[in-house]
Symmetry: D2
Subunit: 295 residues, 4 copies
């Protein structure tokens, strides 16, 4: 399929590459939450301002042990809120990663691209008014929910600087964001998993879109080949760009235009040019990357 930058075809690539980037990102999130556990799973039973004046540290140790928690080394009346702010922040970053996947699907499902689609069952209605519609509503929903989770992180960060040994301003915030942020991210994870599990992928359409630009996507290869032949980068760029722009603006076939270009012909043979339009060149390191990510 087309690898895209700036929503514009760049060079060829595969859907598996995309998925590898996503999986690698999810691994980072798992690491983040694993690392955070030791800071989150703590308790304190230390009295009104944290001094154990009327309760023995043994009680704290006992209750924490029974609850699967560790005693916080030092706390005021309460567990300090940097711990939770970092948790909500990290949830928001995870939500952003899920949004990234959802945005990708929304792009791939657009009418003109249609390289992938959310599962759409036989009897389902995409739009009550327009029977032809199949909308990526789950992906759009994930994008909206990411905004909510991000906003909760803002409130969680404002909860850190409580007054003295505690004020209760954080409480109303946490009553809302603690259930909402965790439930939403749980829901988003389920929805994203389900969405990817059942994602309909159209490889033929990917190939078709790749071909749509008449080979423009191989412009980098032609440029590199020219420079390897001793052409200055500036001159090479000029040669390739003028043919690319013509193909772009008038929809012609890029390779055919290049074959007619006399300047190019001085350096590159027809056979060599054909070779630069070979998809396999771009996929030769698939395994390198897959081994890195999938192990």
């Amino acid at each position: 399929m087309a690898g895209r930058t700036h929503a514009d075809h760049a060079v060829p690539f595969t859907f598996g590459f995309k998925a590898a980037v996503w999986l690698d990102e999810m691994d980072r999130h798992i690491d983040r939450f694993q690392e955070m556990k030791k800071r989150l799973f703590v308790g304190n039973i230390t009295g009104a301002v944290g001094t154990f004046a009327n309760i023995d540290p043994e009680v704290e140790a006992y209750v924490c042990r029974k609850s699967g928690l560790k005693p916080a080394p030092a706390s005021s009346q309460i567990i300090q809120r940097d711990r939770y702010a970092h948790f909500f922040n990290t949830l928001a970053v995870l939500a952003g990663s899920l949004e990234k996947i959802a945005v990708e699907i929304r792009h791939l499902q657009r009418t003109e691209v249609l390289e992938a689609e959310e599962y759409f069952s036989a009897g389902q209605k995409g739009s009550s008014a327009m029977p032809h519609k199949r909308n990526p509503i789950n992906s759009e929903n994930i994008c909206g929910l990411a905004r909510l989770v991000r906003s909760y992180a803002v409130a969680a960060m404002e909860n850190i600087p409580l007054w003295h040994e505690r004020d209760i301003s954080h409480s109303s915030v946490e009553r809302v964001i603690a259930p909402d942020a965790t439930i939403l991210v749980d829901f988003m994870l389920h929805r994203a998993t389900n969405l990817l599990d059942r994602l309909i992928v159209y490889p033929e359409r990917m190939a078709e879109n790749l071909r749509k630009t008449g080979g423009l996507i191989f412009s980098q290869q032609v440029l590199l080949l020219l420079t390897q032949k001793g052409v200055s980068r500036e001159e090479a760029y000029r040669i390739v760009q003028r043919n690319a722009m013509q193909a772009w603006e008038r929809g012609g076939d890029f390779k055919k235009l290049l074959l007619k270009d006399k300047d190019l012909a001085r350096y590159i043979s027809r056979a060599e040019l054909e070779q630069t339009f070979d998809l396999r060149h771009h996929l030769k390191h698939v395994d390198t990357i897959f081994k890195r990510v999938f192990g």
Copy 2:
């Protein structure tokens, strides 16, 4: 061109409609800033806590008059920060509107759509490595800047609850966000104006994209016609959707499929069907809307 919802062709529409929505939105922003003037263009020279103990209100009146300001009716040592928070918030909403336009252009410029493009001059390079690229970098830049302006609004809102008659925590915030937010929005407005002024629009491509779905974009019209003929909405939906889905999945021509549908044929003649595929039906109220917006 295709009107799109969920990034999917919905019903036909024109680029002018889109622009009318934008212009109407910009008019709202002008109103917002006009209304805000009376709250922003105020001054105070009232002394350490706002009492005029050592300075006569006449001095405040005189200086404000000379500066084109009005004296704030009541102030502590300083002008209250709700005035500025609301200003930065409103800048951020304006930035969001500019981002909306920029997102639209990024979509329209994608390889598969290519209905409009940022101006690209003859000698320009879109990508140093890929000579065929023409990237919507101004639009992308506007999107990034909108994030910054939004974030400044968050800081400005936190500046409101200063302690007692003033603390100085707002100062460091304002030294950064006051120049940055105003300069960025000014820059974004210039960039967006320039971008729209020189936007390259491809009407033929718009028409081509419209036709790409083999008429699917008229599905709503067929549905409505069937219901006008007395068919229940459920039944009408079924008839239209089954043909739409076939066109969608296998790429067939929607109108041809409908013409072959025996259920449909019981209610709608060939001539009637042809009429529902008429673009003019969708554009009949262009003038109504233009008159509302452009006056």
Copy 3:
């Protein structure tokens, strides 16, 4: 009472001044929402992308009239989200103003200040463990809720740049923030009103706190008097500051220290000095300000 800057006594002042600043701020909020009405109370019934293709503008006009709305001049499938973002932003600014009042009460209620207190009924418990406590929990609650409302504004601003003629990513956000932000601000307004209605104010304590610094709060008056007598500002500052610092650090009475200062005695008589410690000087413009605010 002491007017305070940097949480430090500045110059004398009254609680009424404080309230005037608050009232003036609330008047601005009322204006903001009044001005916004015309942008918020709009409707659209324009069809799938805003063209009135299948519905007459008359229908929109009729329904809007019946609903007390005005038709939006131009809309896509939906009302554009800058309208709502600005509404949620303005709610958040209002929430920040309520937070400012709440922060003030929290400060005034602290043990060492105790110039005002939230109403505390006979049988009420302030803390289950510490029977002497009377905590400003309503004010603290308002501060927490302001964080939530601010965070909702962030999500609302991200809702502006929807794709093309609409995507549905805004919907999940609005289902949460529309009820939550409006209900919370309504609740905060009620709570703040009730809190101020029943606020216990301790004028004697205010006077007592004013006197606590042994007259330091009048240092500005002494400084000004010295300069009126022809002393350079630098020299005057030195004279006043050295006595002020002694009073501050060793707790002495500022006026007595000044009376013993030989440099000061060269310019200012005892009678003149006594006059500079007159509270009435600071309150002479109360009526000016009250007339501006309370009309």
Copy 4:
């Protein structure tokens, strides 16, 4: 000194406890950044969309090794932005912790409390107009800067969902927030360190404030003693609260009031009551906590 909750005296406590809570929090921040290193110190040289089509993975490995980085297992054209969003978020949480310390100092420095103060040199001016002022401007500045750093985190989180294999919308954001957020937090750390290094602490004033409530701060001890004597918690609360409220409202000495209370006298002897007003009771676990934090 008084441990305070809701800005109200709770039970006795020491400044060292407060510092232990701060140090423990800073240790968590160090851990967070240490853990993050492996996700931040990565590089990629993988070509236009991440495939190594025109560059060997060995080059990436070599350059990364020379730069002290590890190759990112999978990347598109660029390093994925969840890595940076998490970094900026964590900076913002650290900024919030520094703000907490700054808020504490601002409270302790207020005129009525004055238990600690920012260093103030001999010739320094606190306020140009009020020679007696010594304002906690460094602490206030830290609070303002925390707002900025928080706001940058919001923008960083919005940078995650880039389009396809990269768009350039993140770039303008990062050009601002990368230098600003890191420089600001570096500055805040230096300022906070310097501030704490040179902080002036007034132990006598702490003791004086402790005594100000006539022993109210020991109310919890009296309550607990009563319940140990077999009095129901409700009855015990009533006895202690009625004396506490009298002391609070009329400023009497709490211990003296209790000694006159006949209900209390039935359960507690004078000697026992005296013992409950012993500060040492509250400090017996200082070492336990210090060992946990300072090791």
